[in-house]
Symmetry: C2
Subunit: 650 residues, 2 copies
């Protein structure tokens, strides 16, 4: 429909073979997805029951019993199916496929004649479908089913689940819309919007795109849908308060989406919505909508994002707060929100390749998202603070949402499957193609088959990220081909050096990408060297939490201090502003990571005495040899203090 959009890369064409990332993807395949399957079937000893599969069995008439769980319990099955779909797109696994086929049979059996499927409403509130969108995630759950179905269909070519969700989407299309006999409404938790775009891509059916756009455009209009359905259903609440109905900004329903100036409310909902807005802008060429996307992007990344790519400054309402309010210790920075930010970034890159989108995507991926999962794949952070004083957890309730170590699966039911589906589909985030240009956004080793100007080009990539900034491409073409390879020069890089077939290449740059345009032939090699100095990052002067402090970053990785290396009382450490940073790979730390060592000063307690306040205190310091480790790897050595931002000293 429009020329704005880059073509979508099939995950099938990308095979990741990377010393850093392959291990994470293996974890998803070997640990996370099987573990999740056990969880969905209530086979994890000691865990709270999920009963998500059982809900479907009851709805399908295979078992008897009652619905159990949250109103959106079905979405756990859907996200599992989506992760399975991505895994199968990159590597066949007949056993896994067989399990998934059985789940699909079950979902199809539970589906009502008219296409409707949602085990909560089918079992618990039959006849009350579509009466409480603001609170009950009914379209959200449908959206996840659609995403799972599309991923599985793309992996296997099997249409059963795709057909099922088409019937579901058609049913939704018959219920919602601008026509007088339909509901002019939308879901409290955005998700259906981006899912319908995926369904449109999978099927080519324009009505799904139209329905997605309807949901977006309807949002936040007056007279307000939440009020209308509230009155219609007799003023009942699902969650025991009318908060989700009255606090419109919580679900970004306080104004029409094109009029929203800043990132407000529940952070996951906002970025899921933005991803769909960008999708629709790309498909329709709607400049107003694209402008709204750019505005909300800017609101997030220039005023409301942690240096780790985390978003959402407060636990209450899992929400954005206000500009420049980014407390390190009480941060929410939900793992899912950074995943959603990556979704949004990916869509913006599809529209307008600009390295600033990719910089944020990389920042969120390498820091918050990666930090969300432990190295064993069995423990997860929901909340990702930038500073931790574990002694205060449990004692000062301001930190009740902060966990000092990653929790088992059921400590946080939404983030683990989200991490799984993102990592399983990582190949989708590396490149975009537009016209005769291939943009490389993330440097992750492996092979990608990309169609440019009608020809299939194979890009073999080797990357030493995140430890060193050396990246090498080798191309295979069927015949000589004229196109541009656009290599992202990350914001963290020193002066990049490019060699084409061994010769220095002086590339033009555009929007943060070094452009190599030529007639490519098989065997052409490009080497990219991105100097990785240790960077002393400063926060904007209006960022209250970071004034007078610095954070270290090297390559895409933000670093932190941990008690394990530096002792307690990290608050007393000061970095001399000219102190030299030495980076080295330490095979003995955290299974092998690049650490940063720096001489610093520690506020001395020695001569202080026991007074809490002193009038004549001569501040004295002791030398301290500090070791910084990558933020993503924190909290893997027991409970201890952690800090990303460290005080500076002239």
């Amino acid at each position: 429909m429009s020329q704005q959009r880059s073509s979508v890369l099939s995950l099938k064409g990308v095979r990741i073979q990377d010393p850093f990332w392959s291990e994470y993807i293996r974890l998803v395949r070997d640990v996370v997805v099987p573990y999740q399957w056990d969880a969905l079937n209530d086979r994890v000893p000691g865990a709270e029951p999920s009963r998500a599969i059982r809900n479907f069995k009851i709805a399908a008439g295979e078992e008897t019993g009652e619905f159990y769980g949250m109103v959106f319990q079905d979405s756990d099955v859907a996200k599992w199916l989506e992760a399975v779909g991505y895994l199968l797109q990159t590597e066949p696994d007949p056993d896994l496929e067989q399990v998934a086929d059985a789940v699909i049979d079950l979902i199809a059996k539970a589906q009502r004649e008219d296409g409707y499927v949602n085990t909560y409403y089918l079992l618990k509130e039959p006849g009350r479908e579509w009466t409480n969108l603001s609170e009950c995630h009914e379209l959200y759950t449908a959206g996840h089913l659609i995403e799972g179905a599309v991923a599985y269909y793309q992996a296997t070519g099997k249409r059963k689940i795709l057909d099922a969700v088409c019937r579901l989407a058609d049913h939704i299309d018959s219920v919602f819309g601008p026509e007088p006999d339909k509901i002019r409404g939308y879901d409290g938790h955005q998700e259906i919007e981006l899912a319908l775009v995926k369904l449109y891509h999978a099927t080519g059916e324009a009505r799904y795109l139209r329905l997605s756009r309807f949901f977006l455009d309807e949002r936040g209009r007056e007279p307000h849908f939440y009020d209308r359905e509230y009155e219609r259903r007799g003023r009942t609440n699902h969650w025991g308060s009318d908060f989700m109905i009255t606090k419109r900004s919580y679900s970004q329903a306080h104004a029409p989406i094109r009029e929203q100036e800043s990132a407000e409310g529940h952070s996951v909902r906002l970025v899921y919505m933005c991803a769909a807005m960008a999708d629709i802008a790309a498909e329709t060429g709607d400049e107003g909508l694209l402008e709204a996307c750019r505005r909300l992007w800017k609101s997030i990344v220039t005023r409301r994002m942690y240096v780790t790519g985390g978003i959402g400054s407060m636990a209450q309402e899992e929400s954005f707060t206000l500009d420049y309010d980014l407390p390190s210790d009480t941060a929410y920075a939900e793992t899912c929100a950074s995943i959603g930010l990556i979704f949004f970034a990916q869509r913006m890159l599809n529209i307008e390749p600009d390295s600033r989108y990719a910089d944020v995507m990389e920042r969120a991926l390498y820091n918050t998202v990666l930090g969300g999962m432990s190295k064993d794949g069995r423990h997860f952070f929901y909340v990702n603070p930038l500073e931790l004083w574990p002694d205060a957890c449990g004692k000062n309730h301001a930190y009740d949402h902060v966990k000092p170590v990653r929790q088992g699966w059921f400590g946080c039911a939404c983030c683990p499957p989200n991490v799984a589906r993102l990592l399983a589909s990582l190949g989708q985030y590396l490149y975009t193609v537009k016209d005769r240009s291939v943009n490389a956004h993330l440097y992750v080793g492996g092979e990608a088959d990309i169609e440019v100007g009608g020809q299939r080009i194979r890009f073999k990539q080797q990357s030493e990220l995140p430890w060193e900034g050396r990246v090498r491409f080798e191309l295979e073409v069927e015949s000589e081909s004229d196109f541009t390879l656009a290599l992202r020069i990350p914001e963290w890089s020193g002066a990049a050096v490019i060699r084409l077939n061994g010769e220095l290449y002086d590339a033009e740059t555009a929007n943060g990408y070094a452009l190599i345009r030529r007639w490519w032939k098989s065997g052409d090699q490009v080497e990219l060297v991105l100097p990785m100095d240790v960077l002393r990052i400063k926060g904007h002067p209006l960022l209250r939490d970071t004034v007078g402090k610095t954070a270290l970053q090297r390559g895409p990785l933000v670093y932190c201090l941990e008690e394990a290396d530096n002792g307690k009382n990290l608050q007393g450490l000061f970095l001399p502003s000219r102190s030299e940073a030495i980076s080295e790979f330490d095979p003995n730390t955290l299974g092998g990571v690049q650490v940063i060592r720096m001489d610093a000063q520690r506020l001395s307690e020695k001569d202080w005495g026991e007074e809490l306040y002193r009038r004549d205190a001569d501040t004295s310091f002791e030398p301290a040899a500090l070791t910084f480790v990558p933020y993503y790897a924190w909290a893997n050595r027991g409970v201890g203090e952690m800090a990303v931002w460290v005080k500076e000293k002239a």
Copy 2:
């Protein structure tokens, strides 16, 4: 019973005439107490109803209707009566006395034959008296009635209310005690304990002292009283959760009081309990109890107290948290808690005059307590943060308890009457007498008649505090008298200079007091000069919130920066470590206060651009001429930023 205790000064003997404090006491008399009376009678337009007087009228059979309000609604009437008592002790007011007599008649009429009085139970749960001490403040309410009665009796000599609360106390004594037919219990909110000591002083009846000690000693013992009464009443909750029953430390019932090592839980309860512990230790010479008082005192003032004398680091549970956890922005620091800390300090001074107790008393009084009330006497802070970013209030829910301006009466029902009764009884806190020594703790102008060694001595004091450190005493004696006048040398003072009848006097000091022992004759004059430099206060290195920062103090006053004087973005201000502080009285600021001016530096935003984080940021500063104002006077010029702690720069 013991020699440890100093004699109690009658408020009647103290007449405050002070350029600083008289105005506050006038406010209590002319504004706060009348306003409170209107509030108790539901005559404040726009305010939530109190119905506290009406509850008594219904209980007395004068009106019909239902109980309204909190379970401890009666205590509002009691605190009003207590403030009235103090006002009448210092100045007769026949009209006010008449109103109070009518209230007393009403209370007496509502009182049951057996002495019991509590309108909640009489009207709402008759027959359920004494079944839910852990939650329902029944003894707390009785304690306030007793305090009110004693104050009124001491003012007027009228026994009616004293006799009524004696009957109440005797009833309580018949219900509670170690005997098998009595309840071995105590109140969830400590208050009765200190009230019974006052009743003992007023009546000489040792059983009240014994009962107080019983309540203290019973607290926190196993098997736990809260469990026993919970089972006995059939596991019901008053507040909808069993939190007050199961979280023992909330009400300092997690261990016997002598075994409590640190200040835990609800901060007001803790200090009310400590005040009673000190009372009992003084009366009984119980060294173990005194040691427990010292231990809890030390826990508060060396690890858990704000520089403003505020206590309680978190809003949740209005509570202490852990050592060195004193966040400025999310502080609770309830006004009532600082008042309770003053109660505790006063009792410790009675036992062992040590200027460290008086230093804390003064710190809490001049900063948090005074700051709790507006200059019009009609607006109050419940919560006293040390840093405010008003834009975040209402947007970041971590600050939901923080109000950027003082609220009208019913925004906070407990602090205003507590401020009123403290200020109305300020005369009780100035001096203690022990043997042949009179210790002057607070420098407040006026006259005090104090009996020393059988002779009544009149101390006429003139004080320039808090603006200047000049204090002058003139004594009137009936005949020459040999005793020691011990003048507190505050922690904030430079080298003190004392002149006796115009001659330099080289005083010995003991426990922070300069001792002047001599045969005093009428007309003897003592002049005390306490140099008031601007002090740069530092926090203990383990105080996370204050590392790298400084607070200014001059005399007893802690200072702060306000947006009104210094613009927005106080977080970007840095005090050069050697910058000179100039203090001057500014009649145009806040109705005339001593301000402090200092040249500082402001982090520049000029060349920053819109990036949130920068790798190459050269921090640049602009000069900034800062004005600090006394903390107690903040938030009297509209809504704006405020900060006590300011960053330092080498």
